[in-house]
Amino acid sequence: MKYDTVVIGGGPAGLAAAIKASDSGASVLLIEREARLGGILKQCVHDGFGVVRFGEKLSGPEYADRFIKELKRTNVQVSLLSFVTRTQKSQNGYEITYVCRDGVKTVDCRSVVLATGCRERTRNGICVHGDRCAGVYTAGAAQNLVNVLGVMPGKRVVVLGSGDIGLIMARRLTLEGAKVAGVYEAKSVPSGLTRNIHQCLKDFDIPLYLSKTVTRVFGTSRLERVEISDVDEKMHPIAGTEQLVDCDCLVLAVGLIPENEIAREMSVPLDPKTKGAYVDQNCQTKEDGIYACGNALHVNDLVDYVSESGETAGVHSAGPVCKRDLKPIKTDGKLLYVVPQMLDVNSDVSKVVMYFRASEELSAQKLTVSAGGQTIFTKTYNKLLPPEMERIVVDFGKATTDGITVRLEDK
């Protein structure tokens, strides 16, 4: 079989990409490894999704449903329970091999959209020592148990990580009858939205402990207790501060990492700062015809922006492969990262959507985008926090596009 575009991943980014690619005239195959579309949204039953896009607070499954219904209107071919096992270059594009219920299949395509989402950091990723007992879950695994499978992961729970996912899981498990002994955070300030600290923790009298982390777990077959230690300002545990907390479940909400196995297999260069591919303003990676979007590109905090980058990738993946002229976008000052990292000056540069994060908590900042020594965009911010991604739209239309720099500095 031959398609114009193959989209890998049926979460919010992949759904948006497939719809837009199809609407732009491409024949599209969407490959999803699970039995249903929607990705992680299926298990995010809490509300707050879609405020930017739809102006209302939807639950995760409701947000996904709007795109799934939209997809059904198109001619996109969907292959569920399908897993991509090999991707390689072919004469006129790419060859994708995947395993599905009908066996092993290979399709040809002109462009590929990587919408593979992200993975959670695990116990090994943060070096928690101790017994290899049951009862240690990532927040997403615990969420899947409760919200999709209807199974409780434990009765007495310790949550590590005060990002929104950790806070929401603390509330969810409390509602379902578990006792949450506390939410622990290695940083000295909570990572999640203040609103979630209030409606998830304070509403249910769940204690929040800052500058503390889990350093060891104990349990013969099932988790019995965890060791909590104070940490210094570099987040290193301080010897002698250990205390034991009884629990049968540890929920780890300690960060997300873009999933880019396929990108690596296809030799797509990755940005060490975002852990996703380097892309231009059209979400095209350094490899012609390979696009990346959503959380595979960089970890977003709002699904609305995941859909936005999916749509960008979708629209452009449908077009013919054109010769690009890529100019790097450099970052300067207190920026954690900027996406896109390149500008294709052969394509439209008048409405370039850029996402960035500050490298630390900052107040009174000025962001400047310059090209060829000329300032073409500025914006001031009273407050910037690394967990909150910012979005700007820049017009590079009249500027010379050599030496593009994005700079964040004190106002």
């Binding site: 039995a35 039953v45 509300d47 405020v51 499954p61 609103r195 209030h198 409606q199």
Partner: protein, 119 residues
């Protein structure tokens, strides 16, 4: 007293004072903050999302929400009520499971489209 508005992600930090019948609010970026503060002092309300059991193949539980706010004091009573519900056939998204929660007129509705699969 200090209060954080939970209406939207802005999380406005507000100073709320109550003198006899009047409530004054400072620090809110929009007027929703004021009504939130007044409610919070008199009758705090929350929307709640959770899941209910089903006997439908492929759906051990299905996600639900209150389509408006219910009294915060009723949250655990609401959870027990949800515990007693069992869905026995595939329902489209937005199906009403309970018409009127605690006399508020707020409904309990499903938030997942249940597809009829024969797997």
């Amino acid at each position: 007293m200090e209060m954080v508005c939970i209406v939207c992600p802005n999380s406005c930090r507000m100073t709320v004072e109550r003198t006899d019948e009047k409530v004054t609010v400072v620090g809110n970026k929009c007027k929703r903050g004021e009504s939130f503060a007044v409610n919070e002092l008199t009758n705090p309300m929350r929307s709640v999302t959770t899941c209910v059991k089903t006997t439908v193949v492929g759906y051990p539980v299905v996600s639900v929400k209150t389509d408006g706010e219910i009294p915060k004091s009723k949250i655990f009573e609401f959870m027990s009520l949800c515990d007693g519900i069992v869905i026995d056939k595939p329902l489209p998204i937005g199906s009403v499971l309970v018409d009127d929660l605690f006399g508020t007129g707020v409904k309990l509705v499903t938030t997942t489209e249940m597809e009829d699969t024969n797997e």
